[in-house]
C-alpha cells in the first residue's frame, strides 16, 4: 500500500476544515441553539428570558395538540413513504420493459423533482381548490363532496398526494438504477426454472432490490418528516382544524407564528430525537435483513 504522508500535522486538518466548518455552522450550532432555547422561557414581549429546565418539554408532551400532530405525522409519513416508493417501483419496472423512447420516458419521470416543494403545493392547490380548482368541478360531478377546506380526510389525501408526486421522481431514479444492477440472466434463469414474471419479481428482483429499497425508506421517512413543510404550507396550512398539522409544521407555527420560542425549540429537539431514533432503528432492525449482492 502506498500511503501519502503529510509533512506536518496541520495540513490535513486544514484540508478538512471547510467541510467541518459547514457541518458545525449549519448543523451542530443550530442544534445546540435549539437545545439551549428549549430550556428557556421568554416573556410575552420578548424582553426577558429565564432558565426553566425541562418544563417546556413537559408542557409540550402533555399538550393534546402536540399528540394530535404526532398522530398526523405518523399517518402522513407512512402514507407518503409507502405510496411514493411503491408507485415509483411500479413505474421503474414498467420503464425497464420499454424498448423505444426509454430515455425520453425517464427524463419525463425525473422532471417533478426539479419543482420546488412550495410550487408543487401551489400546482396541486390550483388543481384541487374547491372554488377555483381545475379538477374540483369534475370531482363534484362524479358525486364526490369535494371540499378539502372543510374535510380533514380530503385535506390529508391532498397533501399526501402532492408530497408523493414530488418524491416519486427521486425514488424512480434510484429504483431504475437498482433494477439495472440486477443481471438479466437471473430473471432468465428464473423463467427457465418455471417462474412467471410476477413470481420472479417477488422472489428474485424484489429481494435483490432490498439495498435500494432500504436506502429509500430512510430517505423517504426523512423527506416526509421535514421536506414536506413547503407543500403543507402551500396547500392546507395545517388545516382544516389541525388535521394536516405535522410536527414540523407545528414547530413553525408555534415558533414563528405564535412566537412561543421555548415550546417550539423543545418540539424541534424532540423531533430531532425521533428522527435519530427512527434512523437508528431502521439500520439496526431492517438493514439486517437486507442482502447486499
Amino acid at each position: 500500500m502506498n500511503r501519502t504522508v503529510f509533512p506536518h500535522k496541520l495540513l490535513p486538518w486544514l484540508l478538512v476544515t471547510p467541510q467541518l466548518a459547514i457541518t458545525v455552522i449549519f448543523f451542530y450550532w443550530p442544534a445546540a441553539q435549539a437545545f439551549r432555547q428549549s430550556m428557556l422561557r421568554e416573556d410575552a414581549f420578548g424582553l426577558s428570558t429565564s432558565f426553566v429546565g425541562f418544563s417546556n418539554f413537559r408542557r409540550v408532551l402533555s399538550d393534546p395538540n402536540y399528540l394530535n400532530a404526532l398522530q398526523v405525522t405518523v399517518i402522513f409519513s407512512i402514507l407518503v413513504a409507502f405510496c411514493a416508493m411503491s408507485i415509483a417501483l411500479f413505474l421503474a419496472v414498467q420503464a425497464e420493459k420499454i424498448v423505444r423512447g426509454k430515455g425520453f420516458y425517464r427524463t419525463m419521470m425525473i422532471w417533478p423533482y426539479a419543482v420546488a416543494p412550495a410550487i408543487a403545493g401551489m400546482l396541486w392547490l390550483f388543481m384541487f381548490n374547491p372554488s377555483f380548482g381545475t379538477l374540483a368541478w369534475p370531482l363534484r360531478q362524479l358525486g364526490i363532496a369535494w371540499n378539502p377546506l372543510l374535510d380533514g380526510e380530503q385535506a390529508m389525501g391532498l397533501v399526501v398526494a402532492a408530497s408523493t408526486w414530488k418524491q416519486i421522481s427521486y425514488n424512480f431514479l434510484f429504483f431504475v438504477a437498482g433494477l439495472q444492477a440486477i443481471p438479466r440472466s437471473l430473471q432468465e434463469a428464473a423463467a427457465v426454472d418455471g417462474a412467471s414474471r410476477r413470481h420472479a419479481f417477488w422472489t428474485i428482483v424484489f429481494p435483490l432490490l432490498a439495498p435500494t429499497t432500504f436506502f429509500l425508506l430512510v430517505v423517504n421517512t426523512v423527506y416526509a418528516l421535514f421536506d414536506t413543510f413547503g407543500i403543507i404550507h402551500a396547500v392546507t396550512g395545517g388545516g382544516p382544524g389541525k388535521s394536516t398539522e405535522t410536527l414540523v409544521y407545528k414547530v413553525y407555527n408555534d415558533g414563528f407564528v405564535n412566537l412561543i420560542m421555548g415550546d417550539s425549540a423543545a418540539q424541534s429537539v424532540i423531533l430531532m430525537v425521533i428522527v435519530i431514533g427512527l434512523t437508528a432503528f431502521q439500520f439496526r432492525f431492517i438493514e439486517r435483513r437486507v442482502h447486499y449482492g
Binding site: P183, S185, L186, A191, V192, D193, A195, L208
Partner: protein
C-alpha cells in the same frame, strides 16, 4: 427425455440476420455440441431453443410439440448459464429447490432430489451456503445441480466451463460426460473450445457466421470436414491449408513443386488441406514437398516442426516423433499420406 427438431431456424436483430436457417434433428438422449468462434450465433441458437429469444422464422419442436410460441417455463427445459446466474440471496439448497417449489412438488420429494444431486455433485457440505461463499468450480456445480434436479426433457448449457481454470475445466468436462451417461438426458451444449466439443459430443454443429457448416460426429468432422472453415477450426495444431494449381491432373504447389493428387480437377486453382499428423518425412526422390524447418517444439511424446515450403512463404506444420532429431535449418522432404488430404473449392469453401 425428448427429441428436438430444429427446422430452418432464422433470427434477425433489427433487420440484421444473425442465424441463417439452421436445421437439425436431435435424437432422444443425444449429446449435441454447438461449436464455433465467438459471435457466430451459438448462444443465440441455444437461447431460441430455451425460449429466451424469439424466433424470426422456422420451427422448434421439443418432444414432438411445436414450442415456437411457448414461454421458457412451458418448454420443459433446464439451462446452465455461462455466468451461472445463481440467485445470490438464496442458499445452495434454495437455489436448487427453486424450480421444484414452483412446480408444486411435495416437500419430501424436493428434499430427496436436492440431496441426490448434492451427493452426485459433491455439494453436501455447502448446501446452506450462499453462492458468494463458493469457489468458481462449486458455483458451476450448483448451476449444474439446479438444472439437473428438475429432470427436464432437455438440458441446455451455454459455455458452462469457460469461467474455470484449465485443470478444473478438464475435471468438470469428465464429470459432465459421466453425468450424461448416467441420466441419458438430451443435451445441447455450447462451447467455443474444440477440445470440449470433440470429447463431449455425440454429434457436433460447427457454426460459422450464423450458418451450420457441418453437422456430424466428431470423428467425421475431423476426418472429412465439409468446408475449409471446419477444417481450419477443428484440430490442434490447425490444418495446413494453401492454394494449389491443377494442371492435367497433377498439382503445382507453391514454389513450383509437382505432386500427384488423386481427385483434383483437371485445371484451375483449389485449396489443399493437410493435417500436421498426415505428413510423413520421406526420401528426397519420392514425390514429396521439400521444406526448410524454421523451428521444432518438443512436447515429449510428440514434436511439432514448423517450416516453409522451399521457394515460397507458405508455412507448414508437421508432427514428428518425439525421438526426432530434426532441428532448425534442416531441409526435410514430406509426403502426405495418400487418402488423407482434403480439397476445398476456392469459390465456395466447400469440400470437393
Amino acid at each position: 427425455m425428448a427429441h428436438i427438431l430444429l427446422k430452418e431456424l432464422r433470427k434477425s436483430y433489427a433487420g440484421q440476420e444473425v442465424i441463417h436457417g439452421v436445421s437439425m434433428d436431435i435424437a432422444d438422449g443425444e449429446f449435441v455440441v454447438i461449436v464455433g468462434p465467438s459471435g457466430c450465433g451459438k448462444s443465440t441458437l441455444l437461447r431460441m431453443v430455451a425460449g429466451l429469444e424469439g424466433i424470426t422464422a422456422g420451427t422448434i419442436e421439443i418432444g414432438g410439440r411445436v414450442v415456437n410460441d411457448l414461454e421458457p417455463r412451458d418448454r420443459d427445459i433446464a439451462m446452465v448459464f455461462q455466468n451461472y446466474a445463481l440467485y445470490p440471496h438464496m442458499s445452495v439448497r434454495e437455489n436448487m429447490a427453486y424450480g421444484l417449489k414452483i412446480s408444486k412438488m411435495p416437500k419430501p420429494e424436493i428434499e430427496q432430489r436436492v440431496a441426490r444431486a448434492a451427493t452426485m455433485l459433491e455439494l453436501e457440505p455447502y448446501l446452506d451456503r450462499k453462492p458468494r461463499a463458493l469457489s468458481g468450480g462449486q458455483r458451476q456445480r450448483v448451476a449444474m445441480g439446479r438444472a439437473l434436479v428438475r429432470e427436464p426433457s432437455a438440458l441446455l448449457l451455454d459455455e458452462p466451463l469457460s469461467n474455470l481454470d484449465a485443470k478444473l475445466r478438464v475435471q468438470m468436462r469428465l464429470q459432465i460426460k459421466d453425468m450424461h451417461l448416467r441420466t441419458g438426458q438430451t443435451t445441447l451444449y455450447v462451447t467455443h473450445d474444440q477440445v470440449e466439443a470433440m470429447t463431449l459430443a455425440d454429434r457436433l454443429i460447427v457454426m460459422n457466421k450464423g450458418i451450420a457448416e457441418q453437422i456430424a460426429t466428431p470423428s467425421e468432422v475431423y476426418r472429412t470436414p465439409a468446408s475449409e472453415f471446419v477444417a481450419g477450426f477443428i484440430g490442434s495444431p490447425a490444418m495446413n491449408i494453401f492454394t494449389i494449381r491443377a494442371e492435367a491432373g497433377t498439382a503445382i504447389l507453391p514454389g513450383g513443386h509437382r505432386l500427384a493428387i488423386a481427385g483434383i480437377p483437371a485445371s484451375g486453382e483449389v485449396r489443399l488441406g493437410l493435417r500436421p499428423e498426415d505428413l510423413e518425412v520421406t526420401d528426397a526422390d519420392t514425390a514429396s514437398i521439400p521444406i526448410d524447418l524454421r523451428s521444432v517444439e518438443h512436447l515429449g511424446a510428440d514434436a511439432f516442426g514448423y517450416g516453409v515450403i522451399v521457394g515460397s512463404d507458405i508455412l507448414l506444420t508437421l508432427r514428428l516423433p518425439g525421438t526426432s532429431t530434426a532441428q532448425r535449418g534442416d531441409r526435410l522432404n514430406v509426403a502426405p499420406f495418400p487418402g488423407r488430404l482434403h480439397l476445398f473449392s476456392i469459390e465456395t469453401g466447400k469440400r470437393i
